[in-house]
């Protein structure tokens, strides 16, 4: 049984606008599924339907084996939800919110305090637990939100853009927690607009644009579909470019590329493992390399290949410079 199974799911508003337009996806138990797309692509609408906050207007979705439209209470018992913009009561303390959440999920009264303490400690908020949430930083609120979503050890965890607006340290802490959840076997449905986040955390990625899934697969497979890694090379002095092309031809397809001062580019299937042999071969041919960069396809390239536009915040892919 799939943890999440979605078939022809739709959400059409009264205006006729389809925020989600017939998507299909399947997430296996224990999998981290990254749902990637720009703002307004339909990520949050999809999540809101899967967590029973929004009724689909078409299609079908099951979560943990239960239909979101006909068995919403059963779905709610099995899921944890951390929505966009950590929705917390700023007048309550962290501990009070954790204990309330435990009560809402039917955890026996005698276990509420222990369970709350356990998770508060796990997300590093022990010292702040008796402070009102209104005094927390953005990162602390996100961690508390995550802890609340985990209070009943859910089978499926939904994280809607959990790191948007967070500083790098808080982001890294949340990533570690997602990795730990994966190791524990929790299924995680993670929406994000950050390429790196999807790349780092997701076993598989679905890319959504204008309410439709335009690509799906493992991050590597998706990137492989749009191109191979290549090395951009700059030479020192008046290098013998024809000779260099001959040498590089033994490694892959060579093209002349004058962008950003690059002299030649060569496709390399092995990625970073090709750097040393390439430089050694050029050196043996008497050609001195001034700069070499490994440029790998990104999920943004996948998105661009499918939609013709780029994801927000996805500038030119960051190369590995040497």
């Amino acid at each position: 049984m799939a943890a999440i199974e979605v078939s022809a799911l739709e959400r059409e508003y009264r205006s006729g606008f389809k925020a989600v337009d017939g998507i299909d996806l399947r997430v296996e138990p224990g999998e981290v599924y990254g749902f990637l797309g720009p703002n307004g692509a339909g990520k949050t609408t999809t999540v809101r339907m899967l967590v029973t906050l929004l009724r689909p207007t078409g299609g079908r979705a099951t979560v943990a084996g239960h239909d979101v439209a006909t068995e919403p209470q059963k779905v709610r018992r099995k899921i944890g939800v951390a929505l966009q913009e950590a929705a917390l009561d700023h007048l309550m303390t962290g501990r009070e919110l954790m204990e309330l959440q435990a009560t809402l999920h039917g955890i026996p009264a005698r276990s509420v305090a222990d369970r709350a303490q356990d998770l508060i400690g796990r997300v590093g908020l022990s010292d702040a637990q008796d402070r009102r949430v209104g005094t927390y930083s953005g990162g602390m609120r996100r961690r508390l939100d995550l802890a609340m979503a985990l209070i009943h050890a859910p089978e499926v965890l939904f994280l809607d853009e959990p790191t948007t607006g967070l500083d790098p340290t808080s982001r890294a802490t949340l990533w570690d927690e997602v990795r730990r959840l994966k190791a524990d076997g929790t299924t995680v449905f993670l929406t994000t607009q950050y390429l790196e986040e999807a790349d780092q955390l997701a076993d598989r990625v679905g890319i959504i644009s204008a309410g439709k899934i335009v690509a799906e697969g493992t991050p590597q497979a998706l990137k492989d579909e749009v191109g191979r890694p290549h090395l951009d090379l700059c030479f020192v002095g008046d290098a013998d470019l024809p000779r260099a092309r001959e040498v590089l031809a033994g490694f892959g397809e060579v093209r002349v590329d004058t962008v950003d001062g690059v002299d030649l580019s060569v496709g390399v299937l092995e990625g970073s493992r090709a750097i040393a042999p390439v430089i050694r071969a050029l050196d043996e041919a008497g050609i001195v390399v001034g700069r070499v960069e490994l440029v790998e396809p990104t999920l943004d390239d996948v998105f661009a290949a499918q939609t013709g536009s780029h994801l927000e915040g996805a500038a030119t892919p960051a190369p590995t410079a040497i």
Binding site: R48, V51, T52, L53, L54, R55, Q73, R76, R77, I79, V81, L83, E85, A87, L88, D89, H90, L91, M92, E96, L100, Q101, T103, L104, H105, G106, A109, R132, M148
Partner: protein, 261 residues
């Protein structure tokens, strides 16, 4: 999970949270008593001689007569505050967190209404103490005080349900806040501040069908006379009517919100 004991536990947990929230937001709690207190002071200070008008019921003082009006006014403002709190919860997303929890849907409405009942009891206590300090008395004694609490708390819950229903439909705190002047108009078109016999047409006709007239008269009678009159029964019945009607509308508004969200 499930069943009446789980529902009761959840409702109480949500009620406790709402009560805590009110206590930690004094700027929301203060208007519930400050505005009606000022109104009470101005009325008692300037309109005392109206008690000698023909048709005015026999009272020891105008304060005795006005206490029920101040309590009714305070409870109405409490209803607006309940609506604003619900709307803020919707705006801030916390309401979604509650909806995504496996709790009975009615608990979402009941939790805050139980908190409103507790707040209402506090408001009634405040005005009774103020009244006693400034020389009013409750002719109906302990039983009279109990009747004031009974009608007041039921009415407070009803007004809270009206606030919730509006919040669930409007989803905006500023919209709920906007009904405040309307609340005052409805209150003035009742016998809360003056006996219906002294009101001119058409206000006297409106007051005759205005449940606020019966609610305030139901609380007033134990203060100025005793608990043995039909006003008390009419007050209880009117308060229950408001709870039933507004509670029903609030539940329908919740269902509508969950369907259309």
């Amino acid at each position: 999970m499930g069943g009446p004991s789980f529902t009761a536990r959840v409702v109480w947990a949500l009620a406790r949270r709402s009560i805590r929230g009110s206590l930690r937001r004094p700027q929301f709690l203060a208007p519930l008593v400050i505005f009606p207190s000022m109104f009470l002071a101005v009325n008692v200070g300037g309109l005392t001689r109206t008690t000698s008008l023909p048709g005015f019921p026999a009272v020891d003082g105008f304060l005795d007569f006005q206490l029920a009006a101040a309590i009714t006014q305070s409870l109405l403002i409490g209803g607006v505050a309940t609506g604003i709190a619900t709307a803020l919860e919707i705006e801030g997303g916390f309401f979604d967190r509650l909806v995504a929890s496996p709790i009975p849907r009615t608990a979402l409405v009941l939790g805050r209404l139980i908190a409103t009942a507790v707040t209402s009891a506090g408001q009634i206590t405040y005005f009774l103490i103020i009244g006693l300090i400034f020389g009013a008395s409750v002719k109906g004694g302990i039983a009279g005080v109990a009747v004031v609490y009974l009608i007041g708390i039921i009415a407070g819950v009803g007004f809270g349900a009206i606030g919730q229903a509006i919040a669930l439909r409007a989803k905006s705190a500023s919209t709920v806040q906007g009904i405040f002047p309307l609340v005052l108009v409805v209150l003035f078109a009742s016998s809360a501040f003056f006996p219906r016999e002294l009101l001119s047409s058409p206000v006297d006709v409106v007051a005759k069908y205005n449940p606020l007239s019966y609610i305030s008269d139901g609380m007033r009678n134990p203060i100025i006379d005793g608990v043995g009159s039909t006003s008390v029964l009419e007050g209880v019945a009117s308060a229950l009517l408001v709870v039933a009607a507004a509670g029903g509308v609030a539940v329908l508004a919740l269902r509508g919100r969950l369907r259309d969200a």
